[in-house]
């Protein structure tokens, strides 16, 4: 099927769940209540690293407001959980390693009463030395966070290609820089909530929650209970935002709620307030990145050596996967002969870090795209020139030795589109040549350089490019299932094993099935997600739902369509080479369009003749592999490419950056829902802008300061100018009609583009995110807890 022959694919389609959401009827987990339901309150200690000496419940044990207490002694099977490394206790009984850790959970009918009781639990503990400087985590005298692993190293990924020292020797120029990025919070507007309901003589547990990945939660709960997977049934409530954030934490809360529900025989709801959500949930990894590049006078990159350390915080969580994506993509979308990369994730007593939209890519993109601009400036080139010289093309070999093939390698196309759209090169040069007022903010009181009022606001433009491996890659098994059932009246039910995260995958899937069957999107009912009814399709992560789940839905719809075609061939006595077109509720012969039947009649016919009109579709990604010792191999089976141009106005008197305009050009393959695709760009760019300018979770002594939205500042409606999404749809072998990924690509490069634009505006380069007021003016962060803050 060619792109212009689509009926609904690529059109703006209204969300299947929209009406419930605009009327307040949509049910999120905290909107649900069940008879006899208990509330839960967590018991913690205000310490980042401490040995638990004793826990004394005697003051509350007989209180009528207390229904039960759950702690480590109540965990039936696995006491610790983790998606890769099982290092996180469901309840801590020996020590805590970060202030979010939970020692016990109190259950009762009144949350208010439980909060009163919580103050009466007496916990004796001994403080241990706290490790917060993650760059030092591997030093010999630092405390070990999990001594059982013998080291604070969570994972180390080397990548070796060519001979980097030889590459440097052959280079005309060398450039070395260090970049850092901050810890940030997902800031989904709905805080965590889960309900566990014991079923059938406590042999089955039903869990309903704001759960990003129901199959992961099922596995963790089954491990903790020591039950077969089939006795754990996870249903997803409407999910109020996730962005990678409602994974581990929701698995853990599901496990705690299940333990409590089974202990009490009653439904148990855990819902977090914002402060508790930010306190305990995981964050995006802070990175410290050392880059050394060797390049020729022509602009050609010759060699790159990269050393990255990622703060995993208190638990391993997704660190082994996030940092793996980093090692694959750390050199950016540039062909470089000699590469030597080391990426390490380490433990500390900081809040733990895991999956967040972007997943190990926004950090290196900030570094490598800053570096590319600096090389351009040094060589007297424009930023687009240096990228055109080095950017991937069809047949390019990546840092891991993979040849880019079987898809349109559209890096230069997205770059040229963005550059053309914004008159980038001319404007960038004009700003570069503009002489910036010199003003050095200092505490000395006299002879201040005052800025002439008409020089206060400076304009800048900057760009960044990126490539991104689609789906899980060599991280793990990559397959998905979808169930489609046609009803005798031509309507259909659909369910895929990937869970809606609010981004709109249900609508995307309905569009795909509707396109194949030639029926209206709204004649397809998308079923409620329940692990009991659909096969494990892996997590909704890695921008894989359109690609993988979409592939499965398309497969299911094609199976059913084939059944219908068979029915019709039989009825019309047709040879097998006659083919059909399914469109506008009609099924007609391709070579004789006058011969047709309504879709409805065909369904009724098939039903009456006993034809199976239900199917389970399946889509498996092609094989990929990775040699861990040298970091070589085809890491992902396909890639997407993006270029964003940021236009900013910087107030050089205050350091305020205003985003005037962002042009986001992406190649996500074939677009399924235009409205949804544009929404992904707007949302991703806005999150990326928050990462660039405002957002930061600081944790002096391991304790988070920004526990609510008064201090953790995400962008509001007044903080961004216009955003222009532009799509370049390249050809792609995989995915439904070649549709691939967009969710994360939109976010990962925004901060880099903004940083480059700010550099263009003020003539200074910045190495540390976020570019907040102090960073822009002083090129450093100011914090009350800094050792020499109060000289």
């Amino acid at each position: 099927m060619s792109a212009d022959s689509f009926t609904v694919v690529g059109k703006p389609v209204v969300r299947q769940d929209g009406r419930e959401k605009v009327t307040g009827a949509a049910r999120f987990a905290d909107d649900l209540r069940f008879p006899g339901m208990l509330s839960a309150v967590m018991v913690r200690i205000p310490a980042a690293h401490a040995l638990i000496r004793s826990v004394d419940y005697s003051a509350i044990n007989n209180d009528p407001a207390l229904a039960a207490i759950c702690d480590a002694s109540d965990v039936p099977a696995a006491k610790t959980v983790g998606i890769v490394r099982k290092d996180q206790p469901v309840f801590c009984d020996k020590k805590v390693v970060t202030p979010g850790d939970v020692i016990a959970m109190l259950l009762g009918e009144s949350e208010e009463e439980l909060l009163r009781l919580r103050d009466q639990v007496r916990i004796e503990y001994e403080l241990l030395p706290v490790l917060t400087d993650y760059c030092n985590a591997l030093a010999p005298n630092e405390p070990l966070i999990h001594p059982e692993f013998g080291s604070n190293l969570i994972v180390h990924y080397p990548l070796r290609k060519g001979n980097v020292e030889q590459g440097f020797a052959e280079s005309d120029h060398l450039l070395e820089q260090t970049y850092t990025t901050q810890r940030v919070e997902h800031a989904y507007i709905e805080p965590e909530c889960v309900i566990a309901i014991p079923r059938e003589g406590r042999k089955e547990i039903q869990i309903i929650g704001s759960i990003q990945n129901p199959f992961t939660a099922r596995r963790i709960v089954a491990d903790v209970l020591g039950w077969p997977l089939t006795h754990v049934r996870i249903q997803q409530a409407e999910l109020g935002g996730s962005f990678g954030g409602k994974d581990d934490i929701m698995c853990l809360l599901s496990a705690r709620a299940s333990i409590a529900a089974l202990k009490t025989g009653r439904p148990v709801k855990i819902r977090y307030r914002r402060e508790e959500s930010i306190l305990e949930s995981y964050k995006r990894h802070p990175y410290t990145m050392h880059y050394k590049a060797g390049f020729m006078q022509t602009g050609k990159l010759k060699a790159m050596k990269i050393d990255i350390i990622a703060d995993g915080g208190a638990y391993a969580s997704m660190s082994p996967f996030t940092t793996w994506r980093t090692v694959v993509q750390a050199t950016g979308p540039y062909e470089i002969e000699h590469v030597w990369t080391d990426v390490r994730a380490v433990y500390s007593n900081n809040p733990y870090t895991g999956a967040m939209r972007g997943f190990g890519s926004p950090q290196p993109i900030f570094a490598q795209e800053s570096l590319m601009d600096e090389i351009a400036v040094q060589l007297g080139m424009t930023p687009d020139e240096i990228r055109r010289i080095n950017g991937f093309r069809a047949g390019s070999i990546t840092a891991s030795g993979q040849e880019l093939a079987q898809h349109d390698v559209n890096l230069v196309t997205v770059l040229d589109t963005a550059v053309g759209q914004t008159a980038f090169a001319e404007r960038w040069q004009e700003n570069e040549q503009h002489i910036k007022p010199t003003w050095t903010p200092s505490c000395s009181l006299d002879n201040k350089d005052f800025i002439e009022p008409d020089q206060l606001l400076q304009k800048g433009i900057g760009l960044a490019t990126s490539f991104r491996g689609c789906s899980l890659g060599a991280e793990g098994t990559d397959a998905a299932a979808a169930y489609l059932s046609l009803r005798p009246d031509g309507s259909a039910s659909l369910l895929c094993g990937l869970a809606e995260n609010g981004q709109g995958l249900r609508t995307t899937y309905c569009i795909i099935a509707a396109e194949i069957l030639g029926i209206p999107v709204d004649s397809i009912e998308y079923l409620d997600f329940d692990t009991a009814y659909i096969a494990d399709s892996g997590p909704t992560v890695a921008s894989r739902s359109t690609l993988m789940g979409g592939g499965a839905v398309k497969n299911a719809a094609e199976i059913v369509r084939t059944q219908l075609e068979g029915t019709l061939r039989k009825r019309w006595n047709l040879a097998t080479d006659r083919s059909f077109v399914f469109s506008s509720g009609l099924v007609a012969l391709v070579d004789d369009p006058a011969k047709y039947i309504s879709f409805l009649d065909l369904c009724a016919l098939a039903h009456s003749t006993g034809v199976n009109l239900s199917a389970i579709g399946w889509y498996r990604g092609p094989r990929v592999h990775w040699d861990e010792s040298v970091g070589q191999g085809p890491a992902y089976f396909t890639y997407v490419y993006g270029c964003q141009v940021a236009e900013v106005t910087v107030n050089i008197g205050t350091g305020e950056v205003h985003l005037d305009h962002i042009t986001a050009v992406h190649d996500p393959g074939t677009i399924i829902n235009l409205l949804g695709a544009q929404g992904q760009v707007y949302g991703g760019v806005t999150q990326g802008a928050g990462y660039a300018l405002w957002e930061e979770i600081t944790a002096p002594n391991g304790k988070i300061k920004e526990l609510n939205f008064d201090e953790y500042l995400i962008p509001t409606s007044l903080d961004l100018g216009t955003i222009t999404p532009l799509f370049v749809s390249g050809k792609e072998t995989y995915g439904p009609w070649g549709a691939k990924s967009l969710g994360e690509p939109t976010l990962e490069l925004t901060a880099a583009a903004i940083a480059n634009a700010v550099r263009n505006a003020v003539g200074k380069r910045f190495f540390n995110l976020p570019l907040n007021l102090e960073e822009i003016l002083l090129q450093r962060k100011l914090r009350p807890e800094d050792p020499n803050a109060n000289q």
Binding site: P12, V14, R15, D17, G18, R19, E20, K21, V22, T23, G24, A25, A26, R27, F28, D30, D31, E112, H186, A187, Y188, I189, E190, P191, E238, L239, G240, G241, S242, F243, R273, R274, N501, G502, Q503, G504, L675, G676, Q678, G679, Y682, G683, G684, V685, T686, Q687, N708, F709, D710, I714, P715, T716, S717, L718, L720, T722, I723
Partner: protein
């Protein structure tokens, strides 16, 4: 204590503890769960309702302060199954993703249009600046409201005036 007020056009009398907030009355006592709690300190706007015609954070209002007031929640914005033009345009222009901020967004824009039927682009953005959204980047929300303004001004319906 007893609190008497008008909720979505109907008189309500509730016996409730003094430390409960308007949002608790709506969600826990009256089962109107369309109003969401995102932060509890008036920073996110997910709990926005109308109080005497003005958008307010229902997490910052004590039950007793509601005495005698008129409250309108998201449940009463669509009339007899027909969506308000703002709601309809939220759908048409892709202003909804996860939907958790949506009720508050709808109420903030509804309140704006009640008092200012021809808001500028900036006025619309300012009216929802107390409503945090993490999914949409606000762009499609702003577009939906702008389209609503255009539609309402070209073909005035009774809906917006109710």
């Amino acid at each position: 204590m007893t609190v008497n007020f008008v909720l979505n056009g109907k008189a309500v009398s509730l016996v409730i503890a003094a430390n409960r907030r308007l949002i608790d009355m709506l969600r826990d006592s009256l089962g109107l769960t369309g109003t969401k709690e995102g932060c509890g300190i008036g920073e996110c706007g997910a709990c926005t309702v109308l109080m005497n015609g003005e958008a307010v954070n229902s997490c910052l209002i004590l039950a007793g302060q509601v005495e005698g007031a008129e409250i309108v929640t998201i449940e009463a914005i669509a009339k007899h199954g027909t969506l308000h033009p703002v709601q309809e345009n939220f759908l048409q222009y892709g202003a909804v993703q996860c939907g958790f901020c949506t009720p508050g967004m709808v109420l903030s824009t509804y309140a704006l249009l009640q008092t200012n039927p021809q808001p500028s682009e900036h006025e619309i953005a300012a009216a929802i600046s107390g409503n945090l959204c993490r999914c949409t980047g606000y762009k499609q929300i702003l577009e939906a409201v702008q389209k609503t303004v255009e539609e309402m001004n070209s073909a005035p319906s009774e809906h917006g005036r109710s």
